[in-house]
């Protein structure tokens, strides 16, 4: 029984990790909390859904389309909502409002497009569970966990080993100096937005499969935010650790008290964490930079 909870918790945590990582990428590079991330998840999940319905495609293709759509929309969003603020170097407050507004815009577009209804992805597999002895793992959980791990591993490899990854890290560290060193800062920011959007697409599809697809699906982004607060804002590693921890604790608590209270638990977990260790697991920037 307890092993079952751990497995379910890890599967849930892996989706939270994808959300939290996408959020952290932007936080790292532009130092603001991107509140449009949730609505972007919904938007790209819906694009994937309508693709799946019209073309009758496999899950892999749907994921790919959603990720691509998420990435492209994210880049477009950067151009419309953040480019001018980045260039003019005004107060980070404006990033904030821009991202909230952009999120509202995405959600409004989705609501107009699909209406307030609930949608279900077509069934992608014949059997829905895998049995390992007494443990039952739902196939979607398994695929969710495996592909989240794969996506995160690829991302880490990209950030740590490639030329673009190095540029990304240096722009995150100090945008101006990186620019002076000949890095095309705007292009790197766009790259970060593309990656973050692609992760939003991935998370959106899995959340849509796990729950149902509806215009407010993006509200689940709160879990990702909470995970990155627990992990330490802006740290990709912390985000993953925080997400797994949140997924496990939440599954455990839900097991005792019912799923309706899940948001209350995650909020309390976050509050306790902030009181005990405000810098998060990874321990990064908690104070306002001068």
């Amino acid at each position: 029984m307890s092993l079952q909870i751990i497995i379910n918790g890890l599967a849930l945590g892996s989706v939270y990790a994808i959300i939290a990582t996408g959020f952290s990428l932007i936080f790292n590079i532009l130092k603001f909390s991107n509140f449009s991330h949730g609505a972007l998840m919904t938007l790209s999940a819906f694009i994937g859904y309508f693709f799946a319905v019209t073309v009758n495609s496999s899950l892999l293709l749907v994921v790919a389309i959603s990720m691509l759509a998420g990435g492209l929309v994210s880049c477009l969003g950067e151009l419309v909502a953040f480019r001018k603020i980045t260039l003019s170097n005004t107060s980070p407050i404006y990033f904030f409002v821009s991202s909230i507004t952009l999120g509202t815009l995405y959600e409004g577009i989705v609501t107009i497009w699909v209406g307030p209804n609930f949608y279900n992805y077509p069934r992608f597999f014949e059997t829905t569970v895998v049995k390992l002895g007494s443990i039952v793992i739902s196939k979607s959980d398994l695929i969710m966990f495996v592909s989240s791990c794969a996506a995160l591993a690829l991302l880490m490899l990209f950030i740590q080993k490639t030329k673009f990854g190095r540029a990304l890290r240096s722009v995150s560290f100090d945008r101006e100096t990186a620019g002076l060193m000949g890095i095309d800062v705007i292009r790197i920011i766009q790259l970060a937005f593309f990656l973050s959007g692609a992760l939003a697409g991935l998370a959106g599809v899995f959340l849509g499969i796990n729950y149902t697809l509806y215009p407010q699906l993006g509200n689940l982004v709160v879990k990702g935010f909470i995970a990155s607060v627990i992990g330490g804002l802006g740290s990709v590693f912390g985000a993953v650790a925080g997400a797994l921890l949140l997924g496990l604790t939440e599954t455990l608590l839900i097991n005792f008290a019912g799923s309706g209270y899940a948001p209350v638990f995650s909020f309390l977990i976050m509050l306790v964490f902030l009181l005990i260790r405000p810098q998060g697991i990874a321990g990064s920037n908690v104070q306002e930079k001068a």
Binding site: Y94, F96, L105, G108, V229, P263, L271
Partner: protein, 285 residues
């Protein structure tokens, strides 16, 4: 006439809520995405106290505001010392938690079906008077020592600290003040519509208020109020569909942020002086 009166009452209630948001966002530079949850707390507590306990309206309102401030203190305690992103992330989680609680505690709140049977106590006159008092309080707060400390902390926290301002304390004061004002707006709302349900107090509502503040001008109380009045009343009058309204809002605000970041009113504040009457004329004479 009835319809216009109701639109105006709703607009006034929104104005009250937004003056609270203005203290937090405009003056202190913090964003609360759980502000609507405080409105929900004010609405539900006062409603339950009147309907189920039988307290008089005024007493219930005072208790509701006090309890909201207490809850706000608990939420604010771990966050005011940290960078400003935390308060928005924490309040976002808080808002979701409150919505879930309201949905779950069916025996008290009526769950997702909502809580009804609240007597209608909010009149147009009460709304006007309340809005006037709240605006006056916030204007006074802005001009006071605290308001100036807020503005200093917003512009540069480190410099404000160096000048001897207790930044964590001033952030907390601003947060609690805004919570109290918003909770009061919740009380008025509940006793006007006579019915509340958890769905209307999500983070979207909080985000909408932030957007209204920025539409009018983040540094101007006058701008925030007029911005709210325009963005609340106009779509109601024109009978826009709600979905189109949010899209319309968002595009408008994106344009403003891109091309006129200070908002419609910039730093302008309406006062007797700026209208060219009152003191200046006396001086001239």
């Amino acid at each position: 006439m009835e319809f216009y009166l109701s639109v105006m009452t709703f607009t006034l209630i929104s104005v009250i809520a937004v003056t609270g948001v203005y203290v937090l966002t405009g003056l202190t530079g913090m964003f609360s995405l759980g502000q609507a949850a405080f409105m929900a707390i004010g609405a539900y507590i006062s409603g339950v106290l009147v309907v189920k306990v039988g307290l008089p309206f005024a007493l219930a309102a005072i208790i509701a505001i006090a309890l909201s401030v207490l809850v706000g203190y608990i939420v604010g305690l771990p966050t005011v010392r940290l960078r400003r992103d935390y308060i928005s992330l924490v309040t976002l989680g808080f808002g979701e938690a409150i919505t879930a609680l309201l949905n779950q505690m069916q025996s008290i709140t009526g769950g997702a079906l909502g809580f009804s049977g609240i007597p209608q106590k909010t009149t147009f006159t009460l709304a006007v008077a309340s809005a006037a008092v709240c605006i006056a309080l916030v204007a006074y707060f802005k001009a006071s020592k605290y308001g100036r400390q807020c503005i200093a902390a917003k512009s540069d926290e480190l410099a404000a600290k160096a000048m001897g301002i207790d930044v964590a304390r001033i952030k907390m004061i601003a947060f609690l003040f805004s919570v109290a004002v918003t909770a009061y707006a919740g009380v008025l709302y509940a006793f006007y519509t006579t019915y509340v349900d958890p769905g209307i107090f999500g983070w979207k509502k909080s985000a909408e208020w932030v957007i209204m503040v920025f539409f009018g001008g983040v540094n101007s109380l006058t701008g925030s109020i007029i911005g709210t009045a325009i963005l609340t009343a106009l779509p109601e009058m024109l009978r826009f569909a709600a979905e189109y309204r949010t899209v319309f809002y968002s595009i408008l605000v994106l344009l403003i942020i891109n091309f006129k970041p200070a908002g419609l009113f910039g730093e302008y504040e309406l006062s007797l002086k700026s209208l060219g009457i009152g003191r200046e004329k006396k001086n001239a004479a």
